[in-house]
Amino acid sequence: MKSSDPYRPDDREQEPFERRARELWREAARQVDPTTAGRLRAARRGALQAARVPVRHATRWLIPTGAVAAIALAALMIWQPLPRAPASMQAHQTASATPEADNELPPDAEKVDPALYQNLDFYAWLAANDSQPVNR
């Protein structure tokens, strides 16, 4: 039976309602099946055991320290490049690296004066005579 104003229930009615709800709630908790109860116990022990295991401070600090070190190294590489080789060695490396050094012909025929190709026989004769010793 309900009171006339549901927002002002009679306390004599309200208490049995709450009590009944609470009893059923407690009973439902008690009636948890053995498997579930065992798993709950295991979960509780696991949680308590996890709290007992000391946190490894080394592991805790290793990641941030490593990250900072990596960032510092990257910054160092950007702002202070590797030392340059001596100028002579660098020049040699540059010369040997260019294809012109190993090839007597100009690399790009289109950019060269076409007149050079008109007297190739003359240049070949000149090169042959130039390599022979002069006997005078």
């Binding site: 009944r20 099946d33 996890a50």
Partner: protein, 199 residues
């Protein structure tokens, strides 16, 4: 204040409103042993899935022990129920997201184009209600509580079933004490309507 919520305010420390003595356990182990089964019931009631309920309780235990073991024992109850409540909400949100994804993939509607109910995982376990002495009454109450809006349901379980006082309930729910009273008042009103023949 003469509202129903007002009548629910008379908190007696260490003793809940129905006369059950609430002893503060000396150790975390004792506290968790005291609440673990009811915590499971609360999670199960809201999640409707035993494995998810077990996960939620396990996670709540772990978080309480890890982060709050040094707190005074009197604070464990609201902290624990608050953690568990948030975990349940997280799991419910995850399910909602999963339902949305299933809907996007075309699985949210049946052959006639009608929207299917939200996805819920299958529960392969044995029905725990089958073991209850007062099966029908608990089933009625559980069904009525499940129909309540989330905040009203939380207020009813924590305040009325679990016996936390208003301040503890507010702490666990992360809201003001006035909000607890309002939610509880509405929950009681709705439950009384639904369970009129139940008493």
């Amino acid at each position: 204040m003469s509202t129903l919520a007002g009548t629910l305010d008379a908190d007696v420390p260490a003793r809940d409103r129905l006369g059950d003595v609430r002893e503060t356990p000396a150790t975390l182990d004792a506290f968790l042993a005291q609440v673990e089964r009811r915590a499971f019931r609360m999670a199960e009631l809201q999640l409707r899935q035993r494995e998810d309920a077990m996960d939620a309780v396990q996670d709540a235990m772990l978080r309480l022990v890890r982060h709050y073991r040094d707190k005074p024992a009197a604070e464990w109850a609201p902290l624990f129920w608050g953690i568990l409540r948030r975990r349940i909400v997280d799991l419910q949100r995850r399910r909602k997201v999963r339902s949305i994804v299933v809907g996007w993939l075309g699985g949210g509607r049946d052959d006639d184009g009608d929207e299917l109910p939200a996805w819920e995982p299958a529960d392969p376990g044995q029905d725990p209600l089958g073991r209850l002495h007062d099966l029908e009454s608990y089933a009625d109450m559980a069904a009525a509580v499940r129909k309540l809006p989330t905040r009203q349901r939380e207020a009813f379980i924590l305040r009325m079933l679990e016996g936390l006082d208003v301040a503890e309930t507010a702490q666990a729910m992360g809201c003001a004490e006035g909000s607890v009273k309002t939610h509880l008042s509405r929950a009681m009103h709705q439950l009384r309507d639904q369970l009129e023949d139940w008493r």
